[in-house]
């Protein structure tokens, strides 16, 4: 039920903002997948070392925080409201 759709083509700025919104939505999904990577690790017959996983997890953690900060910095929700439509909107 969306009686009125936005314009088909957007100004470059608005377009950028929406792609940032996409990135913001994608980030937790990518993060969740990456968090599960250590489960696949095997060191021969035994499980992988805790320290290796620790470095990986904390590295990922920092990367997620940095990326979230970078995206959030430019993603201003209060600018216009049309950026907050359904994910399907272009």
């Amino acid at each position: 039920m969306s009686p009125e759709r936005g314009p088909v083509f957007l100004a470059r700025r608005t377009y950028r903002r929406r792609r940032l919104g996409d990135a913001a939505r994608l980030l937790p999904i990518v993060g969740a997948l990456l968090v599960c990577i250590p489960l696949l690790w095997r060191n021969g017959s035994e499980a992988s070392r805790t320290t290796d996983v620790m470095f990986y997890i904390f590295g990922l953690w920092i990367a997620l925080a940095v990326l979230a900060g970078a995206i959030s910095r430019y993603l201003r929700p209060s600018e216009t409201e049309d950026g907050s439509r359904d994910p399907g909107d272009i």
Binding site: L27, P28, V53, M54, I57, W61, L64
Partner: protein, 893 residues
């Protein structure tokens, strides 16, 4: 001075410091100063109440038992926070635009302001939070005990129970003081938030300090620490996939659903924009909190004697090394974690309990009675204070009963699974307009029951609440209902098992019942407002009210303000609106004014809620209504279009049927007319042809014969001409093309002329009353004479009286001039009376064959003249009455 006394002193000083911070923040907020209070960093730090004593002490214990698995508890919230654009943004926006006061309020608002749902969520939240509060008390008492152990020689081993009592009482007092100072419109507590932010800094600093001490002090560097980890029991990453993924999900879910998290994240939120900072700052905070957990655990496992409680490594490692200052700092960190959690949880839960349980019951019980001013405000505050005390007491009770023996992490996870049950109705409510109240109730009920049966009750141990038999054989001996192996899912981790089944059944029941049930209008309205919050209500809007609610508002206001004040207020507003009496129109302006007045007595939130309850639909904008109405309108439009179409079809069909009938009739008439006319024309034509042939072909005709035949031909031609004239006349008359030639004349003269023209002298005796005929007429006299001639001629033709007599009588009836033509014949048989005025209708065989058009023409003429000619039944012979409107004649002088 013993270290224990120092500890108590530091503790008291710290609490005083917190009081001061909270007090200063409240003062600053009250004065409108302190923009620093609204900093996004304060917001981020306040979110850190997620890290309770469970994190501070328990994470290390968790890590000492299962290695790196503990990070899942922090990875979940990190992912949720990083994905703020998905959910948190919407939750915060909804919370602000709907003036949500708690998670129970959010869920109940979404599902049509259902208080039943709110009560259910509140009960579930209290049951879920109680063990968690117990956990905090336990951690504080354990840490006290850890200090005390160092002084066993002094013989001042404190009673664990009394420590817990002191801590619980202190927390309750602090929470009551700063949590219920005001019933603020948005339930914001600046003092509390500021104190929590300070505590967040303290606990992070403490944990980092201990971590640095352990890594560089005890271990001697990073490399050595890593080597120690590799050498410890937790060197290997032996986490099962299901627990890794499951716990991450669980912690993420709990992060969204925990009442205390909701309190700081949504209710205390000052600005939606703060989320942008929290999106990266909070994950960083969590990361720092987790950074040294594994090293501390590994070093603790290495250095501490066997059997030492790993939950207290954070405290016992510095103590062991004689670093009392660091140990006290660490203790303060744990103390901060515990207190901030208990304070916020108690505020959140007490808001829920008082708003959704105590106040409705109180208003119901005291309903009807007019209260003095300020009553409700006192009750609301009292309810909240008592709720805080009650909740903290419940936590204490749980702590006493459970004996404080269970590992910290286990209790925390049980609590998490309990609150995670809110997630399906919460997320469903925010993203799915089809979610209904019945669905939410079903889902919550199922999830709650499964959690209770599979995790909460078994957590007390076998035979405490659930008998041993139930564990082994299932409920009622049904193997499929064993609490640790529902539906035959054997060998699963108990937490994962309970999480799986409770969330599956919860979400399944929620979706299924939502699909099957139909929401009430208010649910659909709220659904539209929640799901499309970004399109509809960017800011809290005004009230809209219906006329019927004024009386309810007056009743309510009388209870709160007192009868006199309320009536004065209402009367004044009504007068301003130009209305008489006590009931003004509930315009948005009036409702806002009333809300302001009421909030003076009961606080804005309660006032808003109370008006909201009466007026319904808080801040319903036209767009919201339209959004809901749109669907309905589309359906209605479609069906009305169908209806219109079917009506139109029916109308067309009816018209077509009528047209068809008319056409059929006309066709029949036309056939009849054609056959009549051909018959009428053929008869004279036949004789004309026959006699003209005789004249042509017969040579020896006498002159006499010739003349006879010629006259027959002539007569027939005349008859033919007359027939054609009549037809033409009739057609002209029927088409209304006749031009009337109005003259004035006397009726008697007209009758004389008609009798003469009819040529009936000698054939029929005509009786007239000449006196009554002295009437002047102004009409088309020629046409009228034509009618008279026709009638007189008819009498001559058809009258079978011996001797035939025609009586002409003139009179008045009903304001009309009537001229009756009566003969003494046998008259017209009744079955023929209705058709004699039709074309070509003749009665029997005629003496002088007429075409049967005469009376038809008469009727047409009379219609043109504004009168009528009709057959007059019930006379001795045939009687025709000609009537004329009275205006067309003038009485003789």
């Amino acid at each position: 001075m013993s270290i224990l006394n120092v500890l108590i002193l530091v503790c008291v000083l710290y609490v005083v410091f917190l009081f001061a911070v909270a007090f200063a923040a409240d003062r600053a907020a009250l004065r409108g100063q302190g923009s620093w209070l609204r900093s996004p960093y304060v917001y981020t730090l306040s979110l850190s109440i997620y890290c309770t004593a469970w994190t501070f002490y328990g994470a290390v214990g968790f890590a000492a038992r299962s290695g790196l698995e503990f990070v899942t508890i922090y990875i979940g919230p990190t992912l949720v926070m990083v994905g703020w654009w998905w959910t948190l943004r919407k939750m915060v926006r909804v919370g602000r635009s709907q003036r949500i006061t708690s998670i129970a309020d959010l869920i109940s608002s979404r599902y049509g302001k259902s208080n039943l749902l709110a009560v259910f969520v509140t009960v579930l939240a209290v049951i879920g939070a109680t063990p968690y509060i117990a956990l905090q008390l336990q951690s504080v008492t354990l840490s006290f005990a850890a200090f005390a152990e160092t002084e066993v020689a002094a013989g001042t081993m404190p009673d664990m129970q009394s420590t817990a009592v002191w801590v619980a009482a202190g927390l309750a007092v602090f929470t009551i003081l700063f949590g219920t100072r005001n019933l603020d419109a948005n339930e914001r507590h600046h003092g509390v938030v500021m104190a929590i932010a300070v505590e967040a800094v303290v606990k992070l600093f403490a944990l980092l300090a201990v971590g640095v001490f352990v890594v560089w002090g005890l271990s001697g560097g990073v490399a050595e620490t890593l080597a120690r980890i590799d050498a410890s029991e937790i060197a290997r990453f032996e986490v099962t996939g299901s627990r890794w993924v499951g716990l991450t999900m669980l912690s993420g879910m709990a992060f969204l659903c925990l009442p205390r998290m909701f309190q700081v994240m949504v209710v205390e939120n000052e600005d939606e924009d703060h989320l942008r900072t929290a999106a990266w700052a909070f994950p960083t905070y969590l990361m720092l909190m987790s950074l040294f957990v594994v090293p501390i655990a590994a070093v603790g496992l290495d250095l501490m004697p066997n059997g030492a409680n790993p939950d207290l490594f954070v405290l016992t490692l510095p103590l062991m090394d004689g670093r009392d200052g660091l140990a006290i700092l660490s203790f303060l960190g744990g103390f901060s974690s515990a207190t901030s959690m208990v304070i916020v949880a108690a505020i959140a839960l007490s808001t829920m309990v008082s708003n959704h349980m105590v106040m409705p019951i109180w208003l119901y019980v005291s309903g009807g009675a007019a209260m003095v001013s300020g009553d409700v405000r006192h009750v609301a505050l009292l309810a909240r204070r008592l709720s805080i005390a009650g909740i903290v007491f419940l936590g204490y009770l749980y702590f006493r009963l459970s004996g404080g023996g269970t590992a910290l992490a286990a209790i925390g996870l049980i609590s998490f699974v309990g609150v995670a049950q809110f997630l399906p109705p919460l997320m469903g409510g925010l993203f799915w307009r089809g979610a209904t109240r019945s669905g939410a109730l079903t889902g919550l009920g199922l999830g709650f029951f499964v959690w209770l049966y599979c995790l909460f009750l078994p957590s007390f141990g076998p035979s405490v609440v659930l008998p041993q038999a139930v564990f082994e054989n299932g409920l009622w001996g049904i193997g499929w209902l064993r609490p640790r192996a529902m539906f035959g899912a054997e060998g699963m981790d108990p937490v994962m098992h309970a999480l799986l089944w409770s969330i599956l059944l919860n979400a399944g029941g929620f979706v299924l019942v939502s699909l099957l049930s139909f929401p009430k209008p208010i649910e659909r309205l709220q659904g539209a407002q929640f799901v499309n919050v970004f399109e509809h209500s960017p800011t809290p809007g005004g009230w809209t009210g219906g006329m019927a609610q004024s009386e309810d508002l007056l009743v309510m206001s009388q209870r709160i303000l007192g009868a006199r004040e309320a009536q004065n207020l209402f009367e004044g507003v009504a007068k301003r609106q130009g209305l008489a009496g006590y009931l003004p129109e509930p315009s948005p302006d009036f409702l806002q004014e009333l809300e302001r007045v009421l909030s003076g007595s009961v606080g804005a939130a309660t006032a808003h809620a109370m008006i909201g309850q009466i007026v319904g639909g808080a801040a319903v904008s036209v767009e919201d209504l339209m959004a809901v109405a749109d669907e309905a309108a589309q359906i209605m439009e479609y069906s009305s279009q169908l209806e219109a179409k079917s009506q139109e079809l029916a109308r067309t069909a009816r018209q077509l049927r009528q047209a068809n009938e008319k056409l059929t009739q006309i066709s029949v008439q036309k056939d009849g007319f054609l056959s009549q006319i051909s018959h009428e024309l053929r008869t004279p034509m036949t004789s004309i042809r026959a006699f003209s042939e005789i004249l042509r072909d017969t040579d020896d005709l006498t002159l006499e014969e010739q003349s006879k035949y010629a006259s027959i031909i002539h007569d027939e031609s005349v008859r033919l001409t007359r027939l054609l004239d009549d037809l033409l006349d009739l057609s002209v008359l029927e088409n209304g093309q006749v031009v009337l030639n109005t003259q004035t004349g006397r009726l008697s003269e007209l009758l004389d002329r008609a009798v003469r023209a009819a040529g009936v002298q000698g054939e029929i005796r005509i009786e007239r009353d000449r006196a009554s005929e002295v009437v002047d007429l102004t009409t088309d006299l020629d046409r009228l004479a034509q009618v008279f001639i026709n009638l007189i001629a008819n009498a001559r033709k058809y009258c079978d009286g011996r001797p035939p007599i025609l009586t002409i009588r003139v009179g008045q009836s009903d304001g009309q001039l009537v001229i009756d033509f009566k003969d003494n014949g046998s008259g017209v048989p009744p079955e023929k009376q209705s058709v004699i005025f039709e074309k070509f209708s003749r009665i029997g065989e005629t003496k002088a064959g007429g075409a049967g058009l005469g009376l038809a023409i008469c009727r047409e003429i009379m219609a043109r003249l504004g009168g009528d000619v009709s057959y007059l039944p019930g006379q001795k012979g045939a009687a025709f009455r000609v009537s004329l409107p009275i205006e067309t004649r003038m009485a003789a002088q």
